[in-house]
């Protein structure tokens, strides 16, 4: 013994012991409560199981925060406590004591469930059952959804509100089932299967409000969760609140914290936004169609204006030339007329000159001679030489004796006048 360090004053050692114990890791312990007693500020009990026990203490403030149901801390209760070992060194009069200082406490029933849940979760994950639903295609715009929930309850109302906010007004097939007791899990499983067997159902929502794990335990049922995992219709779970995690959340296609979120997951498309987007798309198509034709039409029109301009230029040029040609032509006609007039004047003047020259004199002499010859043959000239011309009463010449006998009475035309005569057929008598 003399080889050991010390001797140390015991009070100092007691404080060191306290420091050492308080440095130990904080843990949770589970066991049965026995020997409960209370002071003004603390509750004392032993936590024990078949293998042993630890004296425990909890400040009444912490006990109150733990929120156990009334009478929860009682002998025989299964509890889980969180904390660490502590040592009270005592004092001049007070006795020293050791205790596990509990700062948290809850009923161990839930702890058991969690432990069982952990084991189930591990097993189903290992079997790959968490992934099957997540691989299913979820329609963005289902026309019919199935919902498993309690007939009365806020979940139903919240889900409908969520669908309404989406602008979705399709068909909801309600499959009401108990959601909290030992009958719940089989009923929920049957409802899900019936909905999945309904051809129109494109997605299934399973929902209920929050509660303790014990309340939600039906949704951790192994058979139910295996059923959901194997369904070919996507299941959206919304069981409990955000902090609650049930096994159905793990196997479902989507796990949501509230029924409202479940509505959004079951109908991923916001119908109101989709309609607005569709109108934008339609407008974009109209613009594209009109733009494509319009821009090309303008381009074509621009191209077409080129030849048209050229044609107009040509036409203007042509008209100008036509006017010039007409003007030139009119000038030409006038010039030709003037020229012809000049030619005619020249010809006439030459003719006039010819008429006034020696040729005219010769013609006049010829005419005079012809007139003399013509007069020599006139009957009056013959009468002047003593001949008489016999005429009938009409003045026509009578040129034979027979004609004279036939006429009977004739007139004799002398140079100095006419006399009547009777024809005697016997001229010699």
């Amino acid at each position: 013994m003399e080889e050991l360090p010390g001797p140390f004053p015991v009070g100092r050692y007691a404080r060191k012991l306290q420091e050492e114990l308080r440095r130990r890791a904080r843990v949770r312990l589970v066991g049965e409560v026995t020997g409960v007693s209370r002071s003004k500020v603390q509750a004392y009990f032993e936590l024990r199981d078949a293998e042993g026990a630890v004296p425990c203490a909890i400040w009444l403030d912490d006990l109150e925060k733990a929120g156990l149901p009334a009478g929860g801390l009682r002998d025989g209760a299964e509890v889980v406590i969180g904390g660490g070992p502590d040592y009270y060194p005592g004092g001049g009069q007070a006795s020293p004591s050791f205790a596990f200082r509990a700062t948290h406490m809850r009923l161990a029933g839930e702890g058991d469930l969690l432990a069982r849940l952990g084991a189930l979760r591990k097993q189903l994950r290992a079997e790959g059952l968490f992934e099957l639903q997540k691989q299913l295609a979820r329609p963005r715009l289902p026309k019919t959804i199935g919902v498993v929930t309690a007939e009365s309850g806020a979940a139903r109302r919240d889900l409908l509100a969520g669908l309404k906010r989406r602008g979705w007004a399709g068909t909801v097939i309600w499959a009401f089932a108990p959601v909290q007791d030992r009958r719940a899990a089989p009923a929920i499983g049957a409802a899900i299967q019936e909905l999945a067997a309904t051809p129109a159902v494109e997605a299934i929502v399973v929902t209920r409000g929050g509660g303790s794990l014990a309340d939600l335990w039906a949704f951790c049922d192994e058979t139910l969760c295996r059923t959901v995992a194997m369904l070919r219709v996507p299941v959206v779970s919304a069981v409990g609140h955000e902090r609650d995690s049930t096994l159905i959340d793990d196997v479902a296609a989507v796990a949501c914290s509230t029924p409202t979120h479940a509505a959004e997951a079951a109908v991923p498309l916001d119908c109101l936004a989709a309609r607005a987007a569709l109108e934008r798309s339609a407008a974009a198509l109209r613009r594209a169609g009109e733009g494509a034709v319009g821009s090309r039409t303008r381009h074509l029109a621009a191209l077409a204006r080129g030849p048209a301009r050229a044609l107009r230029r040509e036409r203007i040029g042509l008209n100008q030339k036509t006017r010039e040609i007409r003007a030139a032509s009119e000038r030409g006609v006038a010039e030709r007329r003037a020229f012809q007039r000049r030619i005619a004047l020249v010809v006439l003047s030459r003719a006039a000159r010819r008429a006034a020259g020696p040729e005219a004199k010769q013609r006049r002499e010829g005419l005079r001679r012809a007139a003399v010859a013509f007069r020599a043959h006139e009957p009056e000239r013959t009468l002047e030489r003593g001949y008489a011309l016999t005429e009938d009463v009409g003045g026509e010449p009578v040129t034979s004796a027979a004609a004279a006998i036939a006429a009977g009475r004739v007139r004799l035309r002398f140079a100095d006048g006419r006399v009547g005569a009777e024809v005697d057929q016997d001229g010699e008598g």
């Binding site: 026309k143 199935g146 409908l160 068909t171 309904t198 198509l285 494509a292």
Partner: protein, 78 residues
């Protein structure tokens, strides 16, 4: 659109492709007009799909639905 789209999302996906292509400005006139026609048909389809879930929420109970299906499947129920 020679065929009805498989689903609303397939129609929207194709519609987005069409608009991207039109926005790129690389489509010729014939392709543009063809895409516009196809796009209009997709818009009509999508609009009809939206109409189908906009005409008023219908609530059915599974029990009643099952009873209805059973009665309608009986030969003497016609």
């Amino acid at each position: 659109m020679s065929e009805t789209p498989d689903s609303y999302e397939a129609a929207v996906e194709r519609l987005e492709q069409i608009i991207d292509r039109l926005d790129s400005g690389q489509a010729g006139l014939r392709e543009t007009l063809d895409l516009c026609r196809e796009g209009r048909e997709l818009v009509t389809y999508c609009s009809a799909e939206l109409d189908a879930v906009s005409e008023g929420l219908e609530e059915l109970k599974l029990d009643e639905l099952a009873a209805r299906l059973e009665s309608s499947s009986r030969p003497d129920s016609v």
